[in-house]
């Protein structure tokens, strides 16, 4: 037998429902390899965000939402794990950049430690801030204004700060929900470049509306439609030769 690294993340008949009558995500099964970028595409309202938010147990915050099936992180079902343990290992970047408005840039980067009650020495703090801001290519732009509020930065810088904040916790998986949809093309290009570099450290799952973006950055792609995972495979293959009619219709712009 050849040795294959097991997938870092595996959906196994994952279902999510907001109400009793309807399912927003229906029986999604897919395995995601370590240190890859996987794009999740599909028309608006098809359940992309819902699927993504299942991975860091965001749905647990709302008692009416049901999540069924399994989601395995390194072989362990996260649905029966403590949300806090899961969220430390699975970072998230939201659609709208949301640095904590009362914290400085410096404190924003370290906020994960504060929120987890982990104390760092001053040198550890300085090192972490520098390393994380460098890894999101923000260090040169902000190293002289670290004590300013994060909300003073431009939208693209704020989003990179949010990525730095997530990376500071050294997550295994990074979830990104349309992280560039609120940004201009230059900021978007910055973040795409950044994701390519981050691939060595972290496995990225990114929801995107932008097909060009999926093509540029991802190795695997999922196409979802009405809550189902219609197609999952190599990005290049999916774009050149989609196997499902619905995927084809979406990629050729015949569907919202």
């Amino acid at each position: 037998m050849e040795s294959v690294t097991p997938p870092i993340l595996e959906f196994n008949k994952t279902c999510v429902s907001y109400t009793k009558q309807t399912m927003a995500v229906k029986y999604v099964s897919a395995a995601i390899d370590k240190n890859t970028i996987t794009a999740i595409m599909g028309p608006s309202g098809c359940g992309k965000s819902t699927l993504l938010r299942a991975v860091n147990l965001m749905h647990n915050l709302y008692p009416n939402i049901r999540v069924d099936g399994e989601i395995l992180l390194n072989g362990e079902n996260i649905l029966s794990m403590e949300p806090i343990d899961v969220r430390r290992r699975v970072g998230m970047v939201f659609q709208r950049p949301a640095p904590f408005p009362t914290m400085s840039i410096y404190d924003n980067v370290l906020s994960g430690y504060v929120l987890n009650g982990i104390r760092l020495s001053k040198t550890e703090k300085d090192e972490t801030v520098e390393r994380c801001l460098k890894s999101v290519a923000l260090w040169d732009e902000v190293n002289d204004v670290l004590n300013k509020k994060g909300t003073f930065l431009s939208g693209g810088q704020q989003q990179r700060l949010c990525i730095a904040r997530a990376l500071a916790m050294k997550p295994d998986v990074l979830l990104m929900d349309e992280p560039t949809s609120a940004l201009d093309p230059i900021a978007t290009a910055h973040i795409e470049e950044l994701m390519q570099e981050l691939q060595n450290e972290v496995t990225i799952l990114i929801v995107t509306h932008n097909m060009g973006q999926a093509m540029r950055i991802s190795s695997k792609s999922m196409f979802m439609y009405l809550g189902e995972l219609v197609e999952y495979g190599d990005t290049a293959t999916m774009f050149s030769n989609p196997s499902d009619e619905r995927t084809k219709a979406y990629l050729t712009g015949k569907m919202g």
């Binding site: 860091n56 965001m58 915050l61 008692p63 949300p83 806090i84 343990d85 969220r87 430390r88 970072g91 998230m92 939201f94 709208r96 949301a98 904590f100 408005p101 009362t102 914290m103 906020s111 994960g112 504060v114 929120l115 987890n116 009650g117 949010c162 904040r165 997530a166 916790m169």
Partner: protein, 288 residues
């Protein structure tokens, strides 16, 4: 035909505008009348000693009046009593109120929270004189005497609903993304509340505290049952103590001291106005 209709409508609009302006002015009249009355009668009493000297005895006041002098002394005992009781009340009411408000904002569906919320409304509507008599039974009787402690318990009870509500409302209008971002980093709910949500809500909560202070600083009835009053300056918290509104009531009842009413009233009015304007300004600034 059409033109006449339009002209008609414009006339109606105009009439309405006038009516609104007149009504607005009418409501402003009593406010300015009160301000003017208190200011005109009170401002020449405001001097340095008015704030540093305690209330004069009726006899001293009478002698001064007979001699044609202005009444000596001031309201320092009241100011200090008010500050001591307010200070203690704020220290107790702010943390409890914020805790309750956070609990209500985070658990809107919880049975216990709904009960607390209902009680908060009830408390807010309770006449202050009743709060005074209840605190009398709860604190003054067991302690065998009136005290600053009893007074501040009454103030705490009156401030709580305001602080609870302003905390709850401010937390509820924060974007959900803020809390989610905190939890997504692995924080537990208490830490996210403490490090992310409450700091972001600081402006609204602070405004609420200022308004709560300005709401209770003029309360007289509950202090009559609890703090009682005292004619000299004292800093002890287990003895009867004075307060500015109590002094106004005492001055009213003593023909020799009646002139002091206006200075004390002006002080209280200016204090409350300043607090209110500061609260308004801060609320505007933080909401931008």
């Amino acid at each position: 035909m059409d033109k006449r209709k339009i002209r008609n409508r414009l006339a109606k609009d105009n009439a309405l505008l006038w009516a609104v302006c007149i009504l607005a002015t009418l409501t402003a009249v009593p406010l300015f009348a009160i301000l003017g009355e208190v200011f005109l009668r009170g401002y020449d009493q405001l001097s340095w000693t008015f704030f540093t000297e305690p209330t004069p005895t009726a006899y001293k006041a009478m002698v001064a009046i007979e001699a044609g002098n202005s009444i000596p002394g001031g309201i320092a005992n009241g100011i200090i009593g008010t500050m001591i009781m307010l200070g203690m009340a704020v220290v107790v009411a702010v943390p409890i109120g914020i805790l309750c408000g956070a609990f209500l904002a985070e658990n809107p569906k919880n049975r216990f929270a709904q009960m607390v919320s209902y009680l908060t409304d009830l408390l807010q509507g309770t006449p202050s004189v009743i709060i005074g008599i209840v605190v009398y039974i709860w604190v003054v009787v067991p302690m065998k005497g009136y005290s600053a402690i009893a007074g501040s318990v009454a103030l705490v009870i009156m401030m709580l609903p305001l602080i609870i509500r302003s905390t709850e409302e401010t937390l509820k209008i924060l974007p959900a993304s803020l809390k989610e971002a905190g939890l997504a980093l692995g924080g537990n709910r208490a830490r996210v509340m403490l490090k992310v949500q409450l700091p972001a809500a600081f402006g609204g909560i602070f405004t609420g505290v200022l308004l709560a202070i300005s709401r209770v600083i003029g309360e007289t009835a509950p202090l009559m049952f609890t703090a009682l009053g005292c004619s000299f300056i004292r800093f002890t918290i287990d003895k009867p103590i004075s307060a500015v509104p109590l002094l106004i009531w005492e001055f009213f009842n003593d023909p020799n001291l009646q002139e002091l009413i206006w200075g004390a009233s002006l002080f209280l009015l200016l204090f409350v106005l300043t607090l209110n304007l500061t609260a308004k300004y801060l609320a505007k600034k933080w909401n931008q």
